[in-house]
């Protein structure tokens, strides 16, 4: 080596790596919460670092509300930008983009949202907010735009039908939730998309895009009175109404199933898991830490170590719980060379069984807690990250100090709690296994 030996530097290593990460001194953002006169729930964080504002209106209007029309929530969400208050899509777009403002709509299983990022100068911001109020509160759902957006959703659906990862995702959700709204594909089906009418969109909008069904997240460099003014303005643009009925509880994990879908790829996509737990469950923190150790911590997780470093099986492998309004899934996902699929599945089963039986070691637990609490400030180092977390707090009605107390909650998790929670919530004998790849036959 042409490098000098770094003995002196290396000798000091022990000192350098002394544990100093204490999390107690890092709080979450200060969330101000109020409800406007008309009943809109507002979550505001003043962030003064940059002269800009992020705003998100979140509705309980995801695909869980699709009923018999898979894709209805998504199509409604897309159509908001396609015409409102007599303005067409181009005019609406110019209204934002002439100001340098960015706007978008989005929808998932639980939520549908309308988002804005704008500079904070009052005249700019008020016009951008006005644009957002217009498309959220007074969409026209023009027929010609509906036909176009329907076709575009079909194009996107056909793309997904050729994509092994999307195929696996869809099969997995359908298998986990056969009789629950979460089993309905958010992107719809050919038949359902063809059948959706303008009346359906208007009905969906009327039912779910209302004040009682919304939360507003505001993060940025504006004063409290300015935030109140924006909230009041948006609330005045929304109709009053009823909150969505509660999503039905998800059932306990059912029987084990293996679903094999033939696909001409060189890798096999694997999804393994079952129904997990809902947002707000007591064992959330124990399972968060437990899963972090198992497959939630990137390169250092047990799964990554075994699959990647030890076996060279996969480029990426991870596990996660998704707490949702109702119990969301626990899933492990990976892609492996097709001729090693058997090895991958066996390894997974053995690792989960072992983790469930033995739990993490003390040092694994300590390392995980240090990572989660120590990296907490990284989760709050930008307005967009803060807005995402605050919007979750708002939508799920979590305690306002949820982010403040998060590190303490994590530090309080014990090994026994993790083992107990894993045994309660992870059942390898009931796993749904989805395998998408070549030479796979459905043995279901």
């Amino acid at each position: 080596m042409r490098y000098p030996r770094l003995m002196t530097v290396l000798c000091s290593l022990g000192l350098l790596l002394m544990p100093v990460v204490g999390s107690g001194d890092v709080g979450g953002p200060q969330i101000q919460h109020w409800t406007t006169d008309r009943g809109l729930k507002v979550y505001f964080v003043r962030a003064e670092a940059l002269p800009m504002v992020d705003l998100e209106l979140t509705f309980d209007a995801g695909s869980a509300r699709d009923g018999d029309s898979p894709g209805l929530a998504a199509l409604t969400s897309r159509m908001l930008t396609q015409g409102a208050a007599g303005l067409d899509a181009a005019a609406l777009a110019r209204g934002f983009e002439d100001l340098g403002a960015r706007y978008s709509t989005d929808s998932g299983r639980d939520t549908a949202s309308v988002s804005l990022r704008s500079l904070n100068a009052p005249s700019t911001l008020s016009r951008a907010v006005e644009g957002l109020a217009r498309l959220t509160g007074r969409p026209d759902f023009p027929e010609d735009a509906l036909e176009r957006e329907r076709r575009r959703m079909l194009v996107s659906l056909r793309n997904q039908q050729r994509d092994p990862s999307s195929i696996a995702q869809r099969a997995f959700w359908e298998a986990l939730y056969p009789d629950h709204p979460y089993g309905s594909p958010p992107g719809g089906t050919e038949e359902s998309l063809q059948a959706i009418t303008r009346d359906d969109l208007q009905g969906f909008h009327q039912r779910y895009y209302n004040i009682a069904n919304a939360t507003l997240t505001l993060v940025g460099d504006i004063s409290r009175p300015e935030a109140e003014q924006i909230a009041t303005h948006l609330a005045s643009a929304l109709r009053s109404g009823e909150p969505a009925e509660p999503v039905p509880p998800a059932p306990e994990p059912g029987e084990a199933r293996e679903i094999r879908i033939e696909f001409p790829s060189s890798q096999t996509h694997v999804l393994v898991g079952h129904i997990g737990y809902p947002r707000g469950a007591d064992e959330h923190f124990a399972l968060y830490v437990g899963n972090h150790i198992l497959g939630g911590s990137g390169l250092v997780s047990r799964l990554a170590h075994e699959f990647r470093e030890e076996r060279g099986l996969s480029y990426s492998v991870s596990s996660r719980f998704s707490p949702m309004r109702a119990a969301g899934p626990f899933r492990i996902s990976t892609q492996v060379r097709s001729d090693r699929t058997g090895e991958a599945l066996e390894t997974l089963q053995a690792m989960i069984a072992d983790f469930r039986a033995e739990g993490p070691s003390d040092s694994e637990l300590e390392d995980a807690v240090r990572n989660i609490t120590g990296s907490f400030p990284l989760s709050l180092d930008s307005n967009s990250k803060i807005a995402g977390l605050v919007s979750t707090v708002g939508f799920h009605g979590l305690p306002l100090d949820y982010l403040d107390t998060f590190p303490r909650q994590i530090e309080g998790v014990t090994r026994d709690e993790i083992v107990q929670a894993l045994r309660q919530r992870v059942h390898p004998e009931r796993f749904v296994t989805v395998v998408v790849g070549p030479d796979a036959e459905d043995e279901d």
């Binding site: 042409r2 899509a89 777009a93 194009v155």
Partner: protein, 463 residues
């Protein structure tokens, strides 16, 4: 402060003084051994990002060894004399940090994100692997399996990955930009640990490195920390490579590729200069604004005319990246609204180019593009990581990080006439490459492609 003030003045907006915040302060240092350090203070959160950049990527790789920069990036996580494989990740993780790396056409970068008061841990580890990296044959064999899986995931099983790899190989005749970042499958199969070690020895001299730190730090203290950890490393000669400029384009290049499970898609690109190769930087800025007028938002021309309007495209986009050391491509691409419309979509995209050449753009369109660019200058500061990337990208391309401050002024000098001129000069048929992607299933026996990747600065993450 100066820039934000200028920005807001230009926008014609009035802000109370209390709402203005100091523009990020950036300092540059050079250590005695030649290592460079750029530190930007951003103290909105008690965190920092450290990125160690080496000016080497796929464009520097000799034929037959494509992918070696990316494989080296993977091997850099395999431990040192004192620290076994995986220790790096575990140490940073215990410190509450995150780490990873990415490889591009002209750079490889290693990063850590962590609390600002733990920055030294990152420096310690980075310096250790520069001095004491261990290249182990057994580790190498297993890591190559991981790289092959990564290639399957990104390229071989991904029709869009195949398309972009093939597009680059078609668009560039003599420029190394034709080489995929992840490497050709055939090259990867013959790569040896010696190739990787040689690549490290050639390129990873400390004097060849750029350390970028952005966060809640004191620049002088960061400099001292860097001196402590990187200062003892000795510099070594930097490889001198022959230039491999692209030959002058004299005719359109076309290909139709058929890939299993693909859906119809068209990619078009005009060979254009980058900020590093252009005669007058204003041309590059004009091309940037043109790409925004064509596809920067829902009011842009391609959205307004092809997605809406003619309804011929399900998706359509233009793109131009001026930050590159080599010539680059002004890209136009899209997915047809119906499968039969691929040719018609290509014609429609070409017609949009011709419309700019024939009739230019309106003042209103240009102003909208400018307003958006100015706002994006503010929005981009929301990410510490991106700020550090921007510095690294500009440096790797040989443009220099200070250039970003000139961009804004330059924007103001671009006129509609200038945009029409650059369109006429660069968006010409003889500079054009067209690739149609179609499903193999429609044309006889399906065939698995063996290779394909690349794309523009598509960072290949170690994670």
């Amino acid at each position: 402060m100066r820039r934000l003030t200028a920005l807001i003045a230009v926008l014609g907006l009035l802000l109370p003084a209390t709402q203005l915040h100091a523009e990020p302060k950036t300092r540059e240092f050079t250590l005695d051994n030649g290592m460079r350090l750029v530190v930007r203070v951003d103290n909105r959160a008690p965190v920092a990002v450290s990125q160690l950049w080496f000016p080497v990527g796929s464009i520097h790789e000799p034929p037959g060894t494509t992918g070696v920069s990316h494989v080296l990036e993977h091997m850099m996580f395999k431990g040192t004399e004192q620290r076994p494989t995986g220790d790096f990740s575990r140490i940073i993780s215990r410190e509450g940090g995150r780490l990873n790396a990415f490889t591009g056409r002209e750079f490889t970068a290693y990063f850590e994100q962590l609390r600002a008061d733990r920055l030294e841990v990152a420096f310690e580890l980075e310096a250790d692997r520069l001095a004491n990296i261990r290249f182990d044959e057994d580790e190498f064999r297993r890591e190559m399996e991981v790289v092959f899986e990564e290639r399957r995931l990104r390229v071989d099983d991904n029709p869009m990955g195949v398309a972009s790899e093939r597009f680059n190989a078609l668009a560039w005749a003599s420029s190394p930009a034709r080489q995929p970042i992840i490497g050709w499958q055939e090259d990867l199969e013959q790569l040896t640990l010696d190739d990787v070690r040689d690549w490290f020895e050639q390129w990873y001299g400390v004097n060849n490195a750029l350390l970028v730190v952005v966060g809640d730090v004191d620049p002088e203290a960061v400099r001292d920390l860097a001196e402590t950890h990187f200062g003892p490393l000795e510099s070594r000669p930097v490889p001198e490579l022959k230039q491999r400029p692209e030959i002058h384009p004299i005719g359109e290049r076309r290909s139709t590729i058929r890939v299993p499970q693909a859906r119809p898609f068209v990619m078009m690109g005009y060979q254009t200069p980058s900020l590093a190769t252009v005669e007058d930087p204003l041309d590059a800025h004009a091309l940037n604004l043109l790409s925004s007028i064509l596809s920067g938002g829902a009011s842009s021309r391609l959205q307004d005319r092809l997605v809406r309007g003619q309804e011929i495209a399900a998706t359509a986009a233009a793109g131009y990246s001026s930050i590159s050391s080599l010539d680059t491509q002004f890209l136009l691409q899209g997915r047809p609204a119906s499968d039969e419309d691929l040719d018609a979509l290509e014609q429609a995209l070409r017609a949009e180019v011709q419309a700019v050449i024939d009739h230019g753009v309106t003042r209103e369109e240009l102003e909208r593009a400018r307003v958006q660019a100015r706002a994006d200058y503010v929005y981009r500061l929301d990410s510490l990581f991106y700020q550090a990337m921007e510095i690294g990208l500009l440096e790797s391309a040989g443009i220099g990080w200070e250039a970003i401050d000139e961009f804004e002024e330059a924007l103001e000098q671009v006129t509609p006439e200038r945009i029409q001129q650059v369109a006429e000069r660069y968006l010409r048929d003889e500079r054009l490459t067209v690739l149609h992607l179609l499903p193999a299933e429609d044309n006889g026996a399906p065939r698995l492609p063996m290779s394909g990747a690349g794309g523009d600065v598509a960072p290949h993450s170690h994670d």
